[in-house]
Amino acid sequence: MHPAPSVIAFTTLSGLGFGLLAFLGLGLPPVSGWVAFVFFALAYTLAVGGLLASVAHLANPKNALKAFSQWRSSWLSREGIAAVAALLTMAVFAVALIFFDLRLRFLGLFGALLCLGTVFTTSMIYTQLKTVPRWNMWTTPSVFMMHALGGGALLAGQTRLAAVLLVILGALMVWAWIKGDEKGRAGSTLETATGLGRIGKVRLLEPPHSGENYLLKEMAYQVGRKHAVKLRIFALGLGVVLPVLLMLALPVTHFIGFVAVLSHLVGIAAGRWLFFAEAEHVQALYYGK
């Protein structure tokens, strides 16, 4: 699948932002006043920035508001609604906390659940696609959720908790890679795609056109697969191992925290790039890819 920068930025940044918001809703850390303002500003910048990046992915953004209408069937629509609900709920919580020194515990808890719900709905946009077997697994929501929780804990300064959550994230990432490699195209072949398997082995003799098209650009992306191993090492090393070591081995100063967050962000972005780039779509079979 084509790794669009807007979608990578969207899932990475908004995941982190909603993760941090969830922790703030739970009162971790128990900040108030201006310190709370800084935390909330950071969380909202990440979450809203990510969401805005996703709008850049649309070819016809003037109809974007209509995306709130189809929550009964569409995970993308549910995500939009969950995101707005989470941001509004947490905004009320944040205003009460910052300006009135009032901690609305139940509202915070409810907001935290909405934040995690938003990340879950984001992950389901990918998980629901049977056409991309590597995404169509329980590991996809788990990795997205643990990325939000681990990264959120890191940003919220919950050092020990962050280390534990990131280790779980790392294990899930490795498991998803192994299972994804095993699964391949989940039994779909050029023989099932054309129905010509009843004659024998099928190969593409001639593609329908000599040039590029939308389908090839979007769904037969092949650069990522060749660098898969390197990118996995980057994702695991920077996204998980280095931040965990920093959290556990050193006294965590603001600077160390900043390095850990930056490393995590770069690692997760690499992992997310690979998430798209190495995912194979069954329709590419028709092009012999």
């Binding site: 056409t131 099932t192 082995k201 329908p208």
Partner: protein
Amino acid sequence: MTTLPQTTEKKLGLVIDLDTCVGCQACVVSCKEWNTSNYGAPLSDIDAYGAEPHGTFLNRVHSFEAQPETGCSQTVHFPKSCLHCDDAPCVTVCPTGASYKREEDGIVLVNEADCMGCGLCAWACPYGARELDEIFGVMKKCTLCVDRIYNENIPEEDRVPSCVRTCPSNARHFGDLGDPESDVSKLVAARDGMDLMPELGTKPVNKYLPPRLKDQPSEATLKPEHTDAKGLFAWLDKALEKL
């Protein structure tokens, strides 16, 4: 709503005969011609006369080669367009309500006034039947020529999809696949019509008729068989061989 109808009154669709398709691409051209000038935004071409021409098509013809265990391979020309699936995953993923399946005839359409160009429906389709138009930013797909089949302003024989009307080898058939008595349903039954990628559970309405088995096994004989030369030619053959 992008939820799918429980049942549709009719299941209009195509039956494509892989035995008779000659891969002439006439259906590709006629589809492009009709659909670029009628329903919805045109099908744009980019760099049409340049080095990297590309554009939007609703119907494309691939060519495959199937190799049986023994004997010659079989070349199969393979037109592919939207299969108007009963359980269309492209419809349910749509967040704006632009994609829908019609209750009256089962045609899957895109209401371009609602499409935001997110491309998720194209990801959900296993067949590569949807293409996002690069210039107009909306999703394009086969409409089963909905603006021809009910069109009383054109002669009756033209009230079929453009590709069907054009096909010179009669490899494309149009009709109600929900009615077991229809010509297309009988054709599917008689020729063992099949679904593409049935394992994905999309329940396509369009069916493909597999190529008929050869009546006699074919063997490749690409070696020249001129061993029976006599007289002057036998001498020439020998002489040339020695050179």
